[in-house]
Symmetry: C2
Subunit: 494 residues, 2 copies
């Protein structure tokens, strides 16, 4: 009985989360600019309600009573997730939750126009509020979880992840990647860039055609446009975005394919556990492993580009062509081009981890109190100059203002990208070992075989076990850079 | 103190209503078809929360305590609205609220595709559920309000309105209009129909250009497309829709202008009372009076069409023209064309009340239990044959399935349209008497003078007084058909 009551209680929370997810998508994709204030107020109220319901004393009582009853493995995992969410929710006072929600909305809304006008002054105070309130929140959580404040933030995005696990991975990548980048730059063959402009409608048609081939369920999902591509919407209503550059169709195409990886995970979560914590995705690093498995392991590889080339030609040009720039070999060179640059989301997979590690170093310093928000632009410039040889002095829009994350309060999120890349390589190696002729299947556009395997081993398991255990079950080991570095050496330095 | 607590309590309710409004807009405009079930569940949960918060015992206690304290006129009206909402909310059990919300969503979602395929069987059971639950709800409300069940439903859309007030108005219109229609048909001059097709993008540009001229605030609002045009969104985020017919630009243009009338009212409500019941619009008949004042009194009149003709020409044709079909006199003939037809939303203002009265007669019969849902198509056919000489036998899509209202559970709403038309004529006559040279101002595109007057006398007053009192204050009388019939005789039979 207490289990059923707990289940119903969390269904209410899930329905509020549904509303918050759609409001958040709407804010980024549809909302008129002047409506930000009323939207921020409404979202803060709903976030406060989610918090109240999660932190309510009866949640803990029901969870304790349910834990003592006879449950199956899924129910047991659900109760354990709920008990942990309850402890964390009670750690943070309700007014801090509301204040942080408002500060995040205000800061993100200020950032949207300010990025375009390179106006750091327009966001610095708001970002200071977000960081200050996030530090308060992290301290409160760390008290209850008995961990470091930054680990408490990591735990929100990837449950159980710690700075101690990240450090050796990032230290190894920092040591290995710069040489690998030099090698790749020296060896890469010239590619021919197809000449645009490519009308947005055709790029959109291309993205939708490839998404449909891969298996994205358009009956329960959409593709739209936003400043920063994301996979959002609610369970059962998956909404991804991309952005269009008229001169470079690969940007929107790979953007959409990346988000399609996230979307396939979301659409593959166990329907019978929808609305319960155990039915949620197993963390953001694991989520990112699915987008990067799609984008980096599959779509930027030769078999996929063999399959996609005629679709690309027909959709963008109206007919197939033998022009050299449109052939799979050239597209592969374009898709695996390495270049040191300013922008994380435009980075290739070889330099990408260096962008992430820079952000990780700065955000841990912000959290530790070793860095002030006012000094972020200088620290950014110094780190970019050191790791990439690129100065961002005075260039905030291509420096510390390029990503929405900090402005939206997502501190502790960045490591997920690179841990996801590492896990993607591990999981894809396991898939290749399990599925005969996987490359041929991809080349023929038979993606079902890969997604059946992923649904069985990853997507359909929701949060049944921690991501670390899932990784061991699927790949035989925990977090391990060898598959990722093998993949990078094969693709870029062979 | 109790007043402040009450104020804060209703702000929470308003924030949930914000979420519900945006979810509802999204459902009609953006949501993928397969996501209807999860959306219906989430909206039912939020509607249940609004109901719980409104009906909570402390709401009544706070309202009672607040009523005894020292309040200004707005606060007093707010408390009185709240006390009345509280009584009504407690009249209906929470499970009935949730069951009705689910039944309405399911029925509306079934109706969307079924209308296109003329499939009455696909909706009849769902509509029966909606009607059955609505009758239960009306009976529960009527008990508390000590009135007839149908009056309890009217009260939800136009507080205080009764069937006793409607009957003489509708009986008079039923007696006068058929002859007036015959007279108009005999006298109307032939009009030249501009030849399409008119691309959707140009029609959209035209609608937006005219909306901007009128004063719609695009910084806090949007124009989109839906099956059935509506004005929705939330306070501070006004979203209207229209629909495009490539062969007839007047349909989307007047659709958008009609919704712009609603939108100007919504955008003109008192900002300082936003989120409190007293800050809401004064009822749906009053709301409709503002859309019809815009569409029928202003935009389908000669001065507006003089102003709009060059904008229409430039936007649709790329340049101004002297071709006769594009001149104001011809556009006026097209805009005031009378024709007996099947579809309410396509009807001219002369036959429109006959469509409304038909629906009023049927829905009161459904509520009274004198008519079964299964017999609605036959009753519709009989009534249409009698009033318009048109048979809808077997033609559900152009008959009883043409409107979303009943399928969305909006029973008691239809009278608002015609009462709104009557009030629009009364209010516009008062505006003309107060504002010197109003016709010239409209002809020159100076709409500010009209909206300043409307903001002062109607929009900015929110729900400070009942609509009946407001009407007396603005026009000197209560509901009165003389201005409406004078207007119709002048425009159609002079």
């Amino acid at each position: 009985m207490s289990y059923q009551a707990l289940h119903a209680h969390f269904k209410r929370i899930a329905d509020l989360d549904h509303a918050l997810s759609i409001l958040s998508w709407d804010e980024a994709v549809m909302m008129p600019a002047g409506s930000g204030v009323v939207r921020a107020e409404a979202m803060a109220t709903l976030a406060g309600m989610v918090h109240e319901l999660t932190a309510a004393p009866e949640t803990g009582e029901l969870a304790e009573a349910a834990a003592a009853s006879n449950l199956d493995a899924w129910q047991k995992a659900n109760v354990s997730r709920i008990a942990s969410d309850w402890r964390k929710a009670r750690a943070v006072p309700a007014d801090l939750v509301v204040a942080l929600s408002k500060a995040r909305s205000a800061c993100e809304q200020a950032w949207r126009p300010a990025r375009g006008t390179n106006d750091w002054n327009a966001v610095v105070d708001k970002l200071e509020s977000v960081v200050r309130l996030t530090r308060e929140r992290a301290a409160a959580l760390a008290d209850v979880l008995d961990c470091e404040p930054y680990d408490a933030l990591l735990d929100e995005y990837q449950p159980g992840l710690t700075r101690a696990e990240i450090e050796p991975v990032f230290t190894e990548l920092e040591a290995v990647l710069p040489n690998l980048v030099d090698l790749a730059l020296a060896r890469q063959e010239p590619a021919v860039v197809p000449t645009g402009p490519f009308p947005v409608e055709r790029q959109e048609a291309l993205a939708k055609a490839l998404m449909a081939e891969i298996g994205f369920d358009f009956d329960c999902g959409r593709l739209d446009v936003s400043h920063h591509p994301f996979c959002g919407g609610a369970l059962g209503d998956t909404r991804i975005t991309t952005r269009y550059n008229r001169d470079d169709f690969l940007e929107s195409m790979f953007g959409a394919l990346h988000e399609t990886g996230h979307a396939m995970y979301q659409q593959g979560l166990p329907v019978e556990w929808r609305g319960q914590p155990v039915g949620d995705a197993g963390g953001m690093a694991l989520h990112e492993s699915q987008s990067l498995l799609m984008e980096m392991q599959v779509c930027r590889g030769a078999p996929f580009l063999e399959f996609a080339a005629p679709i690309i030609q027909r959709t963008l040009l109206g007919a197939e062509t033998s022009a050299p720039e449109w052939q799979p070999e050239n597209l592969l060179r374009l898709a695996s081009r390495v270049e040191r640059g300013f922008i994380r989301v435009d980075a290739d997979e070889l330099t990408y981890p260096l962008h992430v590690i820079l952000r990780y170093r700065l955000e841990t310093a912000l959290l530790d109190g070793r860095l002030d928000v006012a000094d972020v632009p200088d620290a950014w410039n110094e780190a970019m100059t050191a790791s990439m040889g690129l100065s961002t002095e005075g260039n905030f829009r291509d420096g510390c203002m390029q990503d929405v994350h900090w402005f939206a309060g997502l501190i502790g999120y960045f490591p997920s990208y690179t841990l996801g890349a590492v896990m993607a390589a591990q999981i894809f190696r396991a898939a290749r070992e399990s599925i005969p002729n996987l490359d041929e299947a991809i080349q023929q556009g038979h993606f079902g075989i890969l997604f059946d395997w992923l649904r069985q081993h990853v997507h359909g398991r929701g949060s049944l076990e921690p991501a670390g255990e899932l990784l061991v079950a699927v790949t035989g080991t925990g977090l391990d850079t060898s598959a990722f570095l093998d993949h990078l050496r094969t693709r870029y330095a062979a």
